[in-house]
């Protein structure tokens, strides 16, 4: 209804020819986007399509490699967050950026805390600004309450109040509903509509298509950093949008599936797993089977696998490993590893590797028992062992004495795999095993994962890379809101089917 009026005049914010490269990887590749006053502009795309990167460029947090951001036709200094704020652009971050120990009022004015002379905080003015911002979005919350004591949903609204308090002309929201219930979501959508009606330009990122259709005037669809379509929202159906996001031509690449392998007995068995972000999940992985976990970022997949293997605290449910007919409860992560678990975490640099140590030492770490005698390291054995595994994963170059930190992302990930291959795992859990990895290394890693399964290892893979998930998995569980929303057999799974289960959530927010 709005776009008739919004299209007159120049856009409030306009970005042209935006390119952002991180080293060799192109995150955003020549994208234009414009948003008019009073318009809600939806930005959609798969995980990794470049949405958040683009928004951070608009907000001046990142400097574009190429291209320009214009506000009212005037170019904005790239990468200057302060200048962007002053030009009236406010970004509501995907991750909450509040200071938990500070009060609601202090958080709302953080960064432009009002002062009287001599630098003393003007508490009255602080409360007035905060209250005005909260009133504007119609949220009632005690100004003196520390943010840590608020519910996640209320924190999200305080975050929005904080953006509103600067009286922006452009409000960017990155997945604001990820942590909200359907009722809270409805409230948020109505509130944003009111703000738009009063002339604010709103850019709205969400994976949840019903929201997009309920709120958006226009939509920009990104795929692999490129602009695929920009149009009025009512020109597309929900299915067409999904197809544009995943790319019709990419769908169901040549069948590279393993021949039908008869999976063995259940090795990893989880029942009623609950944890923060995980809500009662049952899951089985059989020997020789590759089970994939699909879903959107933030759906709770990482939390789920970490709760199953005991890497994080489980609040409910049981998990067992059955090896050679013997079943043991997974009571602690350490004990699970001792029983033959391997875990390739999502963040290899912070959780997977000791970057200042050599390739050899990283490979030796989980295998130290078999590489020592009476607690004394057998250095010759370690060298041979590491060399053998470095070759098995095709580490290039295979210099086992070099620090892991000096290798590229793909090679680093191979080292993570190498150290666990040496462990000869009965169960391996891989979280985003090829994120940030080049194509060649990716193929190597896929080959290694398949080989593990062929040798009878039970494999559980979390991946946001849909082609990868489809290519590797025998069975795919799609996770949403900490629950398994649906299970797809390899024969019936395709990208659209996974995305529909992951994103549309028919039972949730009505369109």
């Amino acid at each position: 209804m709005e776009h008739e009026q919004t299209h007159d005049g120049a856009p409030v914010i306009e970005a042209t020819g935006i390119v952002k490269r991180f080293g060799g990887a192109v995150a955003v590749d020549g994208v234009d986007i414009a948003c008019f006053a009073g318009e809600v502009h939806a930005l959609v795309g798969e995980n990794g399509a470049g949405k958040s990167t683009l928004m951070r460029i608009l907000a001046g947090i990142l400097t574009p490699t190429e291209g320009q951001v214009l506000v009212d036709g005037r170019p904005l200094e790239g990468g200057d967050a302060k200048a962007s704020l002053e030009a009236g652009i406010s970004l509501v971050h995907q991750e909450l950026s509040l200071v938990p120990e500070m009060t609601v009022a202090e958080n709302i004015v953080l960064g432009f805390t009002p002062t009287r002379g001599a630098g003393f905080i003007d508490r009255d003015e602080q409360r007035r600004i905060a209250q005005a911002a909260l009133d504007e979005i119609g949220v009632r919350v005690d100004l003196d309450e520390p943010v840590a004591r608020l519910s996640v949903a209320l924190r999200q609204f305080v975050e929005i109040a904080r953006a509103i308090a600067r009286q922006p002309r452009v409000l960017i929201l990155d997945e604001p509903t990820a942590t909200l219930t359907p009722a809270e979501t409805d409230y948020l959508l109505a509130m944003l509509q009111r703000l738009a009606d009063r002339g604010m330009a709103i850019i709205y990122i969400s994976h949840r298509l019903p929201e997009i259709f309920a709120l958006g005037d226009r939509v920009t669809i990104l795929r692999d950093g490129q602009l695929v379509r920009a149009c009025a929202i009512d020109e597309l159906t929900s299915d067409e949008m999904v197809d544009l996001m995943v790319g019709r031509e990419l769908k169901r690449e040549l069948e590279t599936h393993r021949e039908d392998v008869e999976p063995g007995p259940v090795v990893l068995c989880a029942r009623g797993i609950t944890a923060p972000g995980v809500d009662g999940v049952d899951l089985d992985v059989r020997a020789g089977q590759i089970v994939g976990l699909g879903g959107l970022v933030g759906a709770g997949r990482t939390e789920l696998v970490r709760a199953i293997i005991g890497a994080d605290v489980r609040t409910g449910g049981t998990a067992t490993m059955t090896i050679d007919g013997e079943t043991t409860d997974i009571r602690s992560y350490r004990q699970a590893v001792a029983n033959g678990l391997a875990y390739v975490p999502e963040e290899r640099r912070t959780d997977g590797l000791a970057l200042t140590m050599s390739v050899r030492d990283n490979i030796a770490l989980p295998n130290r028992r078999r590489l020592s005698r009476l607690s004394v390291l057998r250095r010759g054995r370690i060298r041979e062992f590491a060399m053998e595994l470095a070759h098995a994963v095709e580490l290039r170059p295979p210099v086992i004495t070099a620090d892991v930190g000096s290798y590229s992302g793909g090679n680093q990930q191979k080292v993570v795999l190498a150290k666990w291959l040496g462990h000869e795992p009965s169960v391996i859990v891989l979280d985003e095993p090829t994120r940030g990895v080049d194509v060649g290394a990716k193929a190597e890693i896929h080959r290694l994962v398949r080989e593990l399964a062929e040798n009878g290892t039970a494999v559980l893979v979390v991946s946001s890379d849909l082609p990868e998930l489809l290519e590797l998995s025998d069975v795919i569980h799609v996770v949403r809101d900490g629950r398994i929303q649906g299970t797809l057999d390899s024969s019936e799974a395709d990208e659209s089917a996974v995305m529909r289960l992951a994103a549309s959530g028919e039972a949730e927010v009505p369109a």
Partner: protein, 341 residues
Amino acid sequence: MTTTDAASTDGESVTALEGPGAAGPEGFQLLPWMADRGIVLFTVALVLFAAVFVDGFASLANITDVFNRSAPIGIVAVGMTFVVISANYLDLSVVSQVATSAVTLLAVSNSTGSVALAMLAAFGVALVYGVVNGTAVGIFKANAVIVTLSTTFIGLGILRWASGGSIYFGPNDGPIRAFGLAKIGPFPLSMLVLILMTLLLSYVLRRTTFGFMVKAFGSNREATRLAGVNTAWIVIGAFLMSALGALIGGFVLAAFSNTAVSTNGTGYDFEALAAIVIGGTSVFGGKGSVLRTLLGVVFVSVLSNLMVLSGLGFGVQQMAIGALIVAAVSLDALARKAGAA
């Protein structure tokens, strides 16, 4: 888990260097080289300088004196090296540990007549220190600096209360006195103890799975935990090594002077740290060695000795050591930045 887009967060790993070799010969970087190898050069240069230009340095009497003074601190420092490598900064409680060890040795042996019993009692106290410090830091994840500062207070409080602040003198004919006076050739026995402790702890750090895990933990504690390591035990073990150094250091100190008092060990926390970081062990954890600490001890002792011989007062020495520590930790941080992948 992160909730940002994959492509935007992982750019950095893509930009990381290709493996060494693939990237061609690596350029020479001065800062990492200095942080890594500088201590060898500086120590040699300092000793040569002293021998040539400073009167009285190169005499046997002076060198023996340097070793006698530096042996207790050196022994404490090689033990504390484990705590620093485990990325837990330092063990301030060596101050009260050294005092307790020295006082226990003389007080118990004086009252029971058994040196063995006295050593056993001191050993028991060291065990308690290591376990308490290690448990608070390793299991409760409390900050190591605060914990060890507090256990220093607790330990000194107990010691002063129990000893009434009195000075204990060993008998002039006992085995402790004999040990303190013993020499191998021209060198005091304390020097042999320092060298043996260095070799022993160096072996533990470099060759045992425990030492390996201490380094790994210091380099990345979460990755080490996820490799299936019992990280609480690693931290407790590191503090036990520090307690062992303080125990033996206290023995040597008591034997050397044949006296013990609750103020023994004052300043050992700082001087041990000086030796460790000047030796080139990283306060960020994961990198370092016991042999480096020995070099650091030699460097600091020779430097102090030079200043004494040149007639510079204690104030100047203190200032110089403080400045050196700032320089060493700054170099460590800069080198880490320059060498970061």
